[in-house]
């Protein structure tokens, strides 16, 4: 166990397991850079630290820049270690987007992991750029009107060697992607969907089921883009045919944050998902 038990994560939060699965692959020679997020609380409690690898806490907008500096320092000392940025969706897609884009453009030799819980959960569920259409947050009480920002595609457009999406329900697929990313030189980006029981308004026991449904309904396709080559992985390989995908309503109805969505809005979301898969079919 690389991340020790008794940490401050909420019951049912998948973040400790996600970090543990990451560290199982990258090993003891890893440096984690954590910008302000839920993980800052999990890692930075006053009584101690659950992580057995070094953790550098950073300001919201600076994590990729700090990781670049750490990697340069390690290189000059001829130390071979993996530098991983472990950031939330706000620290990736909203506040940290400029420095993320900068590090991707310079093709820094770091791994960037975004765990996406689709709002600012740590400060009390405020909307972020990555909150999906129709979702309730405290700042969008009637549901968000705008669509989710496509960060994996934005990073892939920088021409970085490796971009992937992953899900905690498909843990072997996730670890295989981390393993592949570890071997590659240059900027590697992995986007993880991380269900949040208090913020998404569901019972803490359903975390894995909801993560699984996100993939099965096609809302969260699992893919990797290696040197510009797109490839679906794991269960998503079988979902190109529309009849194989479950209706998005099955994913939405388990979560209280979507309870105010009308049937028309659900239809709109379903259409968006179907259009996205048609585009995937063209690339594949």
């Amino acid at each position: 166990m690389m991340l020790m038990r008794g940490n401050a994560a909420c019951p049912g939060c998948p973040i400790p397991r996600e970090i543990d699965a990451l560290l199982e692959v990258t090993g003891q020679k890893t440096v984690l850079v954590v910008p302000a997020s839920c993980t800052s609380v999990i890692m930075g409690d006053t009584n101690g630290m659950p992580s057995s690898v070094p953790v550098v806490h950073s300001a919201f907008a600076a994590a990729p820049a700090i990781a670049s500096g750490i990697k340069a320092a390690l290189n000059s000392k001829k130390e071979d270690a993996t530098v991983v940025v472990w950031a939330g969706d706000g620290g990736t897609g909203d506040i940290g987007l400029a420095s993320l884009s900068g590090a991707a453009e310079r093709n820094e030799d770091i791994m960037y992991l975004c765990y996406d819980n689709e709002a600012y959960m740590n400060t009390g569920v405020q909307r972020s750029g990555l909150t999906p259409y129709g979702a309730w947050t405290t700042t969008t009480p009637e549901g968000k009107r705008e669509r989710k920002k496509p960060i994996p595609q934005i990073v892939a457009e920088h021409g970085v060697p490796y971009v992937a999406t992953a899900s905690i329900a498909y843990i072997f697929d996730y670890q295989a992607k981390v393993k592949k990313a570890k071997e590659i030189q240059g900027f590697r980006y992995i986007h993880l969907l991380s269900p949040c029981p208090p913020g998404w308004r569901f019972d803490s026991s359903l975390t894995i089921r909801i993560a699984k449904l996100a993939v099965e309904t096609g809302i969260w396709p699992l893919y990797e883009i290696e040197k510009g080559k797109f490839r679906l992985t794991s269960l998503s390989k079988t979902l190109i045919d529309k009849s194989k995908r479950k209706p998005v309503l099955e994913y939405l109805k388990l979560q209280g944050r979507f309870s105010k969505m009308t049937s028309e809005e659900v239809k709109k979301l379903q259409n968006e998902v179907d259009e996205f898969w048609e585009e995937i079919q063209k690339i594949d």
């Binding site: 166990m1 991340l3 020790m4 038990r5 008794g6 940490n7 401050a8 994560a9 909420c10 019951p11 049912g12 939060c13 998948p14 973040i15 400790p16 397991r17 543990d20 999990i42 930075g44 409690d45 009584n47 101690g48 630290m49 659950p50 992580s51 057995s52 905690i168 843990i171 029981p197 019972d203 803490s204 026991s205 359903l206 975390t207 894995i208 089921r209």
Partner: protein, 87 residues
């Protein structure tokens, strides 16, 4: 100049950084060892790493288990039941 109160703000890794998180629990997972087939699904998905598999059977660390219920939900043979702490 060295003062006595100067120190490096570094924490060391250890169990229970958030306290004894077992006290957060409302419901506790109870494993029916006759039903358990040792598939390790609960061990794989437990976010707290409080589940151990010893000789193919499951054991829960109740000092740190937060009682989220993920293990009961992912168990394919329903060998784990969530029981109220007051019982």
């Amino acid at each position: 100049m060295q003062h006595e109160y100067q120190y490096f703000p570094i924490t060391v890794p250890g169990k229970g950084a958030g306290g004894q998180t077992g006290t957060w629990r409302f419901v506790r997972p109870v494993v029916n060892l006759n039903k358990c087939i040792g598939c390790r699904a609960c061990w794989m998905f437990c976010p707290e790493a409080t589940i151990h598999v010893i000789d193919g059977k499951v054991e829960v660390d109740y000092d740190y288990c937060k009682g989220c219920g993920i293990c009961a939900n992912v168990c394919p043979v329903k060998a784990i039941l969530m029981e109220g702490e007051d019982q």
